[in-house]
Amino acid sequence: MNDILLRLEGVSRHFGGLKAVDDVSFSLARGEILGLIGPNGAGKTTCFNLISGVYAPTKGDIVLEGISTAGFPPYRMAAMGVGRTFQVVKPFSTLSVLNNVQVALGLTRYGSVLSSLGPWDTKASRNEALEILEEVGIAHLAGTPSGQLPLGNQRRLELARALALKPKLLLLDETFSGLRHEEAAMLSKLVLGVRARGISVLLIEHNMKVAMGLSDRLVVLDHGRLLAEGKPEDIRSDPRVVEAYLGKGASSHAS
């Protein structure tokens, strides 16, 4: 797997004196599922915000498919094939679940004012959105205003919207948290299916069962810096990771 989709090159992001992300480099191959783990406050979400364009890096560069994207706004990153979910869910609250997904389907239309003049509520877009909702398992809630969903379903909606962007790179920020085992297992299967379609996945997850089970490789951040990188089984037994992150009872989570 030498075909590199995304590369972070010495990326830093500072907030005042705080180095939330500090000189981090790693890369993600096409079709890979890469897990991003690390203690609370390690800078994982900040990394996502950098990759998806919500923040610009203070230093360093982010390269997607050979293009340097540092400083690109989120909507350009979306157009370049980055789809993401938010750790703190951000539904379009008064819009129905279906409409939420349709927003994402419009990605190709938002490029110019002219192309955005076509009608959106077509049978085709409805069906496509429904299909995606079916995949994440909330098609029966299509008509509900998204703000009224319980948290677990809002996480699924996040995933549905990201999928609707037909991304090359999918960023999942704790999408599995707040789901019980059965539900998480179903979404894990979905993520594997997505990867089978050639989509790369970058995944933040504190649920080690999920993170270890899904990821081909893991990158561990601590205090904004890269702590370790490697195969799940190596990371699990890496003493630095155990000490900083997993804790002594590691086995109970990572079984």
Binding site: S52, G53, V54, P73, P74, Y75, M77, A78, A79, G83, R84, F86, K90, P91, F92, S93, T94, L95, S96, L98, N99, Q102, V103, A104, G106, L107, T108, R109, Y110, G111, V113, S115, S116, L117, G118, P119, W120, D121, G143, P145, R161, L165
Partner: protein
């Protein structure tokens, strides 16, 4: 119908046009604007100047007026990209005051004396008056409603809804906040410009105070009262706020008090607007209709 009711209805139709524009900005794109009267004024003044000083007719001036107002809307809409919510609300109040004082202070705009001698509108060789002028306004209102509806059904409209709800998420879904907020601003202000032009040629004389903050407030009240973000809300709001003072007219001394009281009561008991989500009217006429777009 007598001349008096026709005049009232004509004003209502014009205000409905302008309120529909405001609805695009506030209701669809979620950008609070309390300075909409400024754009109404810009439309009125530019049409008045083009017809009196540049010798154009209403019809030849109209496209220019709409373009110009939209363009100014584009420029003055810029602050909305940096500011949020209440900051924006107060900034737009500021824009209203500044535009009003420019009309009032710059001699080119007639200064404190206003602009008079604005020609009336002629169509097919006849001067439009009374009912004919009303029909013209209604025709334009129909166009504006049609465009509003088209907008809500376009991807651009959906993009605005998304921005209204959650900007970061919308942006991550490919929606450029700059492009679509400004689009809404341009459409909304252009509609105000159209209304302004009609107003100028109806009144035949305009002055800065016609376009003050109080008017912006009543525009906003129309939109909120009718049902923000709904298609017909602004029209209903304009109708109610246009007719109420006439109903209370015989009460002279208590008229404005009752007016304010009714506005307060309506806001208090139908906060989502008369046609808004879950409102009385809506439940009566469209039971069981789902979802929030339109």
């Amino acid at each position: 119908m007598n001349d008096y009711s026709i005049t009232i209805l004509t004003f209502i139709a014009i205000q409905a046009i302008v309120a529909c524009g405001l609805n695009v900005i506030v209701g669809y794109a979620g950008q609070i604007s309390l300075g909409h009267a400024a754009f109404f004024g810009i439309g009125a003044y530019s049409s008045a100047l083009l017809t009196t000083k540049a010798g154009l007719t209403f019809w030849t001036a109209l496209p220019l007026v709409i373009l110009l107002t939209g363009a100014i809307g584009l420029v003055l809409g810029m602050p909305s990209l940096r500011l949020r919510e209440d900051f924006l609300a107060v900034t737009t109040i500021g824009i209203n005051f500044i535009v009003e004082s420019v009309f009032l202070y710059v001699p080119f705009f007639g200064g404190a004396l206003g602009l008079g001698g604005i020609p009336s509108i002629t169509l097919l060789g006849t001067r439009l008056r009374g009912p004919n002028f009303l029909y013209l306004c209604l025709a334009f209102l129909a166009v504006v409603l049609f465009l509003s509806r088209r907008f809500t059904r376009s991807w651009g409209g959906l993009a605005c809804f998304a921005l209204r709800e959650e900007e970061t998420a919308a942006s991550s879904m490919g929606v450029s906040p700059i492009r679509f907020k400004l689009l809404a601003f341009v459409i909304g202000t252009a509609m105000a410009g159209l209304g302004g032009a009609l107003y100028a040629h109806l009144m035949r004389f305009i002055s800065a105070t016609d376009f003050g903050f109080t008017l912006s407030v009543s525009m906003m009240s129309m939109v909120v009262l009718g049902g923000i973000g709904t298609l017909w809300g602004p029209v209903l709001g304009a109708l109610i706020l246009g007719v109420l003072p006439e109903v209370f007219r015989p009460l002279i001394d208590y008229r404005m008090l009752l007016n304010a009281a009714i506005l307060l009561l309506m806001i208090r008991f139908q906060p989502a607007g008369l046609l808004g989500e879950g409102s009385l009217l809506r439940r009566l006429f469209r039971p069981g209709r789902d979802s929030a777009h339109e």
